[in-house]
C-alpha cells in the first residue's frame, strides 16, 4: 500500500524564513517519502504557503537545510526546484484560458518536428497522459475556458506530471470545487501516490485530508505543531493542533524561557 523508502525524498531541517520584521517560519521540520501523501494544514497565516514557496524555490530559505534524497541541496530559484524534480501546482492555476488543453499541457515545452509544432505527437501524448491518470475531459482540443473548475484543476495537475516529478506540491487543489469535482481531484491524488510520487497537499478541508493523506503536518504561527498519522488520529486532535487549543500560557512561557536561555 504505502511504500516508504529509506531516505525521505525531501526533508526540511530547521528551516526558517523572515520577511522584514515578520518571522514567517521558525525551525520547521518536515519529511516526505515517495509514495506518500503529506497534508500540510494550519490556519491562515500559519506559514503553509511560505513553506511551499521555499520548497518550490520562490522564496529562498534564511536558515536550515533542505535535503533531497538524503543530500543537502540549495534551492535558490524555481528552476532549481524543477531540476530536482519538484512540481508545484499553485492555487491560481496558471493556465491560459484561450489555449486548448494540449497547448496548455505543453506550454513552454512544445514538441517540435523540423522546427514546427508537432501537434499530432503532442495530442497523442496528452491523451496518453490523461488516460494514465484516468482524467476525463470532453476533448483535448477545446479551450481551457470551456472546462469546469475541477477539470481545470486536473489539467493543471496533469501538466505538472509531464516532467515526471518526484515530488508534487498541490496548493489548495480542492478549494472552490464542487463535491464531485473534489472527488475527482482526490482520486487523482491517490493515483499520484500509486505511481510512487511524493505529494504535499495543502488543504483547509479536514475531510479531504482524512480521505487521502497518510500523514498530517500541522503548522501554527510559522512553527511545527505536530505531525500525525492520519489513520490513528481523530479529526478533533488535528483541529486542536491547528487552532492552538494545545497552545496555552504554560507552553508559551516555556517557549519564551527556552529561547531566552539560548
Amino acid at each position: 500500500m504505502v511504500h516508504v523508502s529509506a531516505a525521505p525524498v525531501l526533508a526540511l531541517r530547521g528551516v526558517s524564513k523572515r520577511f522584514g520584521a515578520v518571522q514567517a517560519l521558525t525551525d520547521v521540520e518536515l519529511e516526505i517519502h515517495s509514495g506518500e501523501v503529506v497534508a500540510l494544514v494550519g490556519d491562515n497565516g500559519a506559514g503553509k504557503s511560505t513553506l511551499v514557496k521555499t520548497i518550490a524555490g520562490v522564496h529562498p530559505i534564511d536558515d536550515g537545510v533542505i535535503e533531497w534524497n538524503g543530500k543537502p541541496v540549495a534551492i535558490g530559484k524555481p528552476h532549481d526546484a524543477q531540476n530536482l524534480g519538484i512540481a508545484t501546482v499553485y492555487q491560481d492555476l496558471a493556465l491560459c484560458d484561450n489555449i486548448d488543453v494540449v497547448g496548455n499541457l505543453f506550454l513552454g515545452r512544445e514538441l517540435k518536428r523540423r522546427g514546427v509544432l508537432d501537434e499530432v505527437e503532442m495530442e497523442r501524448r496528452a491523451r496518453e497522459l490523461l488516460t494514465t491518470l484516468s482524467i476525463r475531459i470532453p476533448s483535448v482540443r477545446i479551450p481551457i475556458a470551456s472546462l469546469s473548475g475541477g477539470q481545470r484543476q486536473t489539467v493543471a495537475i496533469a501538466r505538472s506530471m509531464l516532467g515526471e516529478p518526484k515530488l508534487v506540491i498541490l496548493d489548495e487543489p480542492t478549494a472552490a470545487l464542487g463535491v464531485e469535482q473534489t472527488a475527482q481531484v482526490l482520486d487523482l491524488v491517490e493515483r499520484l501516490r500509486e505511481r510512487g510520487h511524493a505529494v504535499i497537499l495543502i488543504s483547509h478541508n479536514m475531510a479531504d485530508v482524512k480521505a487521502v493523506a497518510d500523514k498530517v503536518a500541522v503548522l501554527r504561527l510559522g512553527r511545527n505543531n505536530g505531525v500525525f498519522n492520519v489513520k490513528d488520529t481523530s479529526q478533533e486532535e488535528i483541529i486542536s493542533a491547528i487552532t492552538g487549543a494545545t497552545d496555552n500560557a504554560v507552553t508559551r512561557r516555556a517557549a519564551r524561557t527556552g529561547e531566552a536561555g539560548k
Binding site: C96, N98, R136, S139
Partner: protein, 430 residues
C-alpha cells in the same frame, strides 16, 4: 425493474470484456457535443456556435456582402473588375499594417504609432533613393529595418521599463510624425521612381492569365495535400482526424475563394503583384502564429501573462519582438502607401490611416482583449474598410462623411467584439 437490471448486467459484462476495443480509450468524451458526419452535422454545429457567441467571421462576411450589395445598387461600376482590382491593390498598404497590429492585439496591447512609423518609412526610402541616390533595394531594406528598430524601441519601453503600451506608442505617434517631417525637410513632397521596385509594388500586374489561375491551383492543391497528409499522420497516431468530406468541403471553399478573385483580376489587367505579396505575408504570418513555439507564446501571453511566465516563456523578449514585428509591417505598409501615391509626402501616415488599420484588424475578428485572432482577419477587415471607402468615393461622398461612417463601423465592431466576449464567457468559450 427487471429490464433495468438486465441492462446493467449487460453493461457489466461489456466492461468486463477486455476485447471490447471501443471502451479502451474513448475517442471523444460522450459529454462533448461532437459534430455528426455529413452536411446536417455542419449545420447543427454552426447553429450551436452562433448561439454560444462563437461568431467567427460570419458577421464580417455578411457585412461585406451587404456593403457590396448596397454600393452595387447605387453604382453599377462598384463590382466591375477594374474597381475590384483597385480596391484589392489599395487595401494592401492598410492590410500590411493591420497584420502587424494583429500581433500586438494578440498580446492584448495596442500600437498607436503604426501610421507615423509608416510615414517615416516612406520618407526615409524617398530621401535615400531619390534625394541621395542610394540603391533602391538598399533604401527599401533600410526603411524596413528602421521600422523594426522603432518597434523594438517601443517594445523596450513597454516590456522592460513597464510603461503602458498605449502611452508609449501614443508618444511614438507624435514623435515619429515629427521625425517624418524632419526627414522630408523643406521639399514637402518627394516623387519616387515609378519604375523602381517600390513604384512597381502597386503598379505591376502578372498579365499572363495563367499566373492567377496557376497560383490559385497551387494554393488549392497545396492545402489539400497538407490536410490530407496531416490526417494520415493523425490516423496513424490514433488521434481524432477530420473526415474526408470535411477536407473536401474546405478545399472546395478555398477553390471558390482563390479561382474567383483570379478570374476577376484576369478580366482587368491581370494578377496584381501587391495582392500576391499580401497573400504570401498572410500565409507566412499565419504559419508563424499557429505552427511555431513563438506564435504559441504570443497567444499564451494574450491569455495569461502569469501562466506564460511560470511556463518559462521569455515574456520580455516576446513582447519586444512583437512590437518590432508591428513596426516592420508598418514600414512595409508605408512603402506600399508611397508606391500607391507615387510619392512620399507630409500627409503620409496621417488622417484616418491609424484608425483604418486598427479597424481592419478588429473588424476581421481579432479581439481587442488579446489572445484571439488570426492574421487572415486583416484580409477580411481591410476588404470591408476599403470597400466602404471606394463605394463612398464612387458616390462622391466627401471625406467628413467617410470619416464618420468608418468611425461608426469601427464602433459597431468593437461592440460586437465586447458582446461576443461576454456571450463566450457565459458559454464557456472565452
Amino acid at each position: 425493474m427487471s429490464t433495468e437490471h438486465h441492462t446493467s448486467a449487460e453493461e457489466v459484462a461489456q466492461l468486463a470484456n477486455p476485447s471490447a476495443p471501443a471502451d479502451a480509450i474513448p475517442a471523444v468524451d460522450p459529454r462533448l457535443l461532437v459534430r455528426e458526419q455529413g452536411l446536417s452535422g455542419y449545420l447543427s454545429e454552426f447553429g450551436r456556435k452562433m448561439k454560444a457567441g462563437d461568431l467567427g467571421s460570419v458577421p464580417v462576411v455578411i457585412g461585406l456582402i451587404v456593403i457590396c450589395g448596397i454600393f452595387q445598387g447605387l453604382n453599377a461600376n462598384f463590382l466591375s473588375p477594374e474597381n475590384l482590382t483597385n480596391i484589392a491593390i489599395t487595401m494592401v498598404a492598410t492590410g500590411m499594417m493591420a497584420v502587424g497590429i494583429i500581433f500586438v492585439l494578440l498580446l492584448g496591447e495596442i500600437d498607436l504609432s503604426v501610421g507615423s512609423v509608416s510615414g517615416v518609412s516612406g520618407a526615409l526610402f524617398a530621401v535615400m533613393a531619390v534625394t541621395h541616390g542610394v540603391n533602391q533595394w538598399v533604401a527599401i531594406l533600410a526603411a524596413i529595418a528602421a521600422g523594426a528598430l522603432i518597434g523594438a524601441i517601443h517594445g523596450f519601453f513597454f516590456a522592460r521599463i513597464g510603461a503602458p503600451a498605449f502611452a508609449v506608442t501614443l508618444s511614438g505617434l507624435l514623435f515619429w510624425s515629427g521625425a517624418m517631417l524632419q526627414i522630408l525637410g523643406s521639399n514637402g513632397t518627394i516623387n519616387i521612381d515609378p519604375d523602381g521596385p517600390v513604384g512597381q509594388l502597386t503598379t505591376y500586374f502578372f498579365t499572363d492569365v495563367a499566373a492567377g489561375y496557376g497560383l490559385a491551383a497551387i494554393a488549392v492543391i497545396g492545402y489539400f495535400l497538407a490536410s490530407f497528409l496531416d490526417n494520415r499522420r493523425r490516423e496513424a497516431a490514433g488521434v481524432p482526424s477530420r473526415p474526408v468530406s470535411e477536407i473536401a468541403l474546405r478545399t472546395g471553399l478555398l477553390a471558390v475563394f482563390t479561382f474567383g478573385p483570379a478570374a476577376v483580376f484576369n478580366q482587368y489587367k491581370g494578377l496584381p503583384l501587391a495582392v500576391v505579396l499580401f497573400v504570401l505575408v498572410l500565409v507566412g504570418t499565419d504559419f508563424l502564429l499557429r505552427r511555431t513555439s513563438f506564435g504559441r507564446s504570443i497567444f499564451a501571453l494574450g491569455g495569461s501573462v502569469e501562466a506564460s511566465r511560470r511556463a518559462g516563456i521569455n515574456v520580455t523578449g516576446i513582447r519586444i519582438t512583437v512590437f518590432a514585428i508591428a513596426g516592420t509591417f508598418a514600414a512595409v505598409g508605408g512603402l506600399f502607401w508611397a508606391s500607391k501615391i507615387a510619392a512620399a509626402n507630409q500627409s503620409a501616415g496621417a488622417g484616418d490611416l491609424l484608425m483604418n488599420v486598427i479597424a481592419a484588424a478588429v473588424i476581421g475578428g481579432t479581439s481587442l482583449f488579446g489572445g484571439r485572432g488570426r492574421t487572415w482577419n486583416a484580409l477580411l477587415g481591410v476588404m470591408v474598410i476599403t470597400s466602404i471607402q471606394y463605394g463612398l468615393a464612387l458616390q462622391g461622398i466627401a471625406t467628413p462623411i467617410q470619416y464618420m461612417i468608418t468611425g461608426a463601423v469601427l464602433l459597431a465592431t468593437v461592440v460586437i467584439d465586447s458582446v461576443t466576449r461576454k456571450t463566450q464567457k457565459t458559454a464557456g468559450r472565452a
